[in-house]
């Protein structure tokens, strides 16, 4: 029973990371109807930025953190201008392929610069964790869970209560109508890319001390996050979060009770099971285009 509680805590912690990246997926998908296959690389790049500033240069953690997030915002801008924006009037297939190209470009550029050895990044706190009864709560996992909860509330407040959030929602639901109402659609899409790059970066920085900082971390996280969005119901914010948490828990238990080397395969099995038996996910995808 103690082990179960411990695994549940770890699973939720890792699931929270998937949920954060999944959130970035969903935001871009809703704004542009495009799945950004470089979303995971945002996390990877941010983690490497942290390694550069906090480890290599030895700058304060909080300062490195701010610089890394600033760098992600910049990457969001470049990504939008270089990859998405020129293709915005094409069908989704070229855009998907371009984001895949971007993902390959980002991960291999980092590989070329930093080499294949995984890097280590310290956690935010000096205390490794606290013992709560039978369960050991790792401080980094606690931080991840806390940030995820905070972001869920922030997202709700931002999209439902602020004018900018409402404009973003309007753009994602009907671009033509939004532009007729005087909303600058291209600005809104730009903001979406910046926000989701920062969100992805945040997830990468948070998870880096738990995993190693490696070239593969981006694609691994992205796959899980994508599986999470399908499990939750494509395009649904609450679904992405629930799906991410569920996947983290399933995976952690699978690794503990079934097989460690195939840990990364469980997400795929759950994904295929959902695709076959409940493709609309827990909360349901929105209706597809019709005549």
């Amino acid at each position: 029973m103690d082990l179960v509680l411990q695994l549940l805590f770890t699973g939720i912690g890792i699931g929270a990371v998937y949920a954060l990246v999944a959130l970035g997926f969903v935001l871009i998908f809703r704004a542009t109807n495009v799945v950004n296959f470089a979303q995971g690389e945002f996390s990877m790049v941010a983690a490497y930025l942290m390694v550069v500033f906090a480890v290599d240069l030895g700058w304060p953690y909080w300062l490195s953190f701010l610089i890394a997030l600033g760098g992600m915002a910049l990457l969001g801008v470049i990504f939008n201008l270089g990859v998405y924006y020129p293709l915005r009037h094409r069908t989704f297939l070229p855009v998907i392929i371009a984001t895949i190209g971007a993902s390959i470009l980002l991960s291999n550029s980092v590989l070329a610069i930093y080499g294949p050895q995984p890097q280590v990044l310290q956690g935010w706190f000096d205390t490794p964790g606290i013992q709560l009864g039978p369960v050991y709560l790792d401080s980094q996992y606690l931080l991840i869970i806390a940030v995820t909860i905070a972001l869920v509330f922030f997202n709700y407040w931002f999209f439902e209560k602020t004018l900018l959030g409402k404009k973003l929602q309007a753009t994602s639901q009907d671009k033509e109508m939004a532009s007729l109402l005087g909303i600058s659609v291209s600005t809104m899409i730009m903001i979406t890319f910046i926000y989701s790059a920062v969100l992805g970066g945040l997830a990468g920085i948070l998870v880096a001390p738990v995993l190693f900082v490696s070239i593969q971390m981006g694609s691994t996280i992205a796959l899980k996050a994508f599986a999470a969005t399908i499990i939750g119901g494509f395009g649904d914010v609450a679904g992405a979060i629930i799906g991410g948490l569920a996947l983290g828990v399933i995976e952690t238990f699978g690794a503990a009770y079934i097989s460690v080397p195939y840990k990364d395969g469980f997400a795929f099995l759950v994904l295929v099971a959902f695709l076959i038996f409940r493709p609309q996910g827990i909360f349901g995808e929105r209706v597809a285009e019709k005549a």
């Binding site: 392929i97 390959i104 470009l105 291999n108 980092v110 694609s219 994508f226 997400a267 295929v272 209706v287």
Partner: protein, 592 residues
């Protein structure tokens, strides 16, 4: 009606019906020369390896030209399918001591089954699912190759893979691979002009239109995907025999991306482009060896290539060349001559062609269509009218199967079609056009109409490609566009595109034709022509159900009108009486 085909000069059809084998003879001669060169020339080991790699990779990339180029579906796991074939030959000929041929066929079968399974689980959904699922599958295959040491020998790989007795020397094995390349290349090249290939292109261009033209969209995608996987498996098996050693890193996700880049660079739509792209991307890294000294650098450049190609050269190198060539050739190719179109709508049922009873379609709480009855009499023109938002187009979409009915029953010519998918309704005799034109935009007018003519159950076409072309030409002549049959859709005006859509539906010889606002966006001359066309269609006994806002057109063309408002039927009957009905007048003009 006399058959104008009597007047056709004899040589014209004779040229067309020359056997395929003779028309394509130059290809086989060229291929035979290449095989002879591969067998005869003396290459040193380095060149031989590069040629072997280019040959086997090309076959795998052909697979992508089918799934991505023809069918518009993505596959990011081609290296995994390649690996399945390679490991089948690797493990089979070493640990299991089986014959090479058996292992090659077995590897193809395994790849095919894996591809079909992935396709069946994912292809009903949007393309982004397929991209992610194939990436996941790729990761799983790599995990198994590395970790299932009892089977795959893990990261060490499988050495000493055997070749068939017949091709023991590297040179003869290369000749064998080139021959395989030529055969597979021929099949893939020819595929796009077969029924299956046309269906794939139709699915790529417009899934909804493909469905209502009788194409089983889901099955077509699975065929494309499974075929791609099969070619991957075949290529992998040949690769394993050629290099005698396989290890997991040769079949990683990075290799899938390399395959994708090869396909995009050369031109995704054609096997020639695939071969060009493959050759270039094998040779370039050999020339620029310093790129390989920094891990990641050449893949980073591939990634950049992908973005740039998609942005600036979406059809690849070969697409660019072929496009220029086609523009030059298009004027020299005259459309074939054809007879007058015959419509012989099936007449198995009773007095009514379409009987709709209690039809409802609810979206959540919104009752878009609510208990509507429609009975369309055989041989007449029946109009469905109503103000904006009254549920007309929703009704049409439920009739053609794009929406599932919430309740009610639809009987077409005696067949209950209520629960059929769109392509089966089309097979049962339903034809339709769309309010916002849905043609296959990368194809010619003739090819569009051919897809319509290929409707399963069309009794008006004979066997073979020539009969199909003739039927399509008849339909295009019927709408007055026969002389422009070989032009691409994009060169036609809006009004002409509508006519092509009608021709596509007519070529299928439907029992009932649904026209969704055919007059929308037409000018007054075009509207008159449309009216004439409808008369000529009706004169041949084809039943029409038309939706339109143009009251002049509706009142002149239709004998019977059904009026909807807020999803309910408010009037039904003979045209003039219905248009004077007080409820109809108030629905359109408002009441005092």
């Amino acid at each position: 009606m006399s058959a104008p085909s009597d007047n056709v000069p004899i040589p014209a059809p004779a040229v067309r019906s020359k056997p395929l084998v003779i028309r394509h003879l130059p290809y086989f001669i060229g291929a035979a020369i290449l095989v002879a060169l591969a067998a005869g020339l003396r290459f040193d080991g380095y060149i031989l390896n590069i040629l072997l790699q280019a040959t086997t990779f090309s076959i795998a990339v052909f697979g992508l030209s089918v799934v991505l180029g023809l069918c518009g579906q993505i596959n990011l796991a081609q290296a995994a399918f390649f690996g399945l074939g390679a490991y089948a030959v690797g493990i089979g000929t070493t640990d299991l001591h089986l014959s090479f041929w058996l292992c090659l066929v077995g590897g193809c079968a395994i790849a095919l089954l894996a591809g079909a399974f992935l396709g069946m689980s994912t292809l009903r959904l949007g393309g982004h699912y397929l991209a992610m699922v194939t990436i996941s599958f790729q990761q799983i295959v790599t995990l198994v190759m590395i970790n299932a040491i009892w089977l795959t020998r893990g990261p060490d790989g499988v050495p000493n893979i055997r070749r068939p007795e017949l091709f023991q020397t590297s040179q003869s094995y290369l000749a064998f691979c080139v021959a395989m390349l030529a055969i597979v290349g021929y099949l893939v090249w020819h595929l796009s002009d077969t029924k299956l290939g046309r269906a794939m292109r139709a699915v790529r261009d417009n899934e909804l239109a493909a469905g209502v033209n009788g194409i089983d969209v889901f099955r077509t995608k699975i065929y494309a995907f499974a075929l791609c996987a099969l070619l991957g498996g075949l290529a992998g098996g040949l690769f394993a025999g050629g290099f005698a050693y396989v290890s997991p890193d040769q079949f990683s996700f990075a290799e899938s991306i390399v395959f994708l880049t090869m396909s995009l660079l050369g031109g995704v739509a054609s096997p020639i482009g695939s071969a060009i792209g493959t050759g270039l991307l094998i040779l370039i890294p050999e020339w620029l060896r310093f790129l390989k000294s920094v891990p990641g650098l050449y893949l980073a450049i591939y990634g950049l290539f992908v973005i740039l190609i998609i942005r600036f050269m979406p059809d690849g190198i070969w697409g660019f060349v072929a496009d220029a060539f086609n523009r030059w050739r298009a004027h020299t190719k005259a459309p074939p001559v054809a007879a007058a179109l015959q419509l012989k709508p099936a007449t198995v049922g009773g007095e009514y062609v379409l009987e709709v009873t209690g039809l409802s379609k609810h979206f959540g709480g919104l009752k878009a269509v609510d208990g509507v009855d429609i009975a369309v009499r055989r041989g007449g023109v029946h109009a469905l009218i109503g103000p904006n938002g009254s549920g007309k187009t929703t009704t049409l979409n439920v009739l053609s199967g794009l929406y599932e009915a919430t309740s009610g029953k639809i009987v077409l010519d005696g067949t209950d079609i209520t629960h059929m998918p769109p392509h089966q309704r089309t097979a049962a005799g339903l034809g339709r056009t769309f309010q916002n034109i849905r043609l296959f935009r990368s194809m010619t007018a003739l090819e569009n109409v051919e897809i319509g003519a290929e409707r399963p159950g069309n009794t008006m076409i004979g066997k073979g490609e020539d009969a199909l072309t003739e039927r399509a030409m008849e339909a295009l002549n019927f709408v007055g566009l026969g002389n422009r049959a070989n032009e691409l859709i994009s060169s036609f005006s809006y009004g002409h595109q509508r006519l092509i859509e009608i021709a596509r539906a007519l070529a299928a010889n439907p029992t009932l034709l649904l026209l969704d606002e055919p007059a929308a966006g037409l000018n007054s001359t075009e509207k008159l022509e449309l009216h004439e066309l409808l008369k000529r269609i009706a004169a041949q006994g084809l039943t029409i159900l038309i939706i339109d806002h143009d009251m002049t057109l509706v009142s002149e063309a239709a004998q019977h009108i059904t009026v909807l408002n807020f999803g309910r039927r408010i009037a039904d009957g003979e045209s003039m009486a219905v248009l004077r009905h007080p409820d109809v007048v108030s629905a359109y003009l408002g009441s005092e």
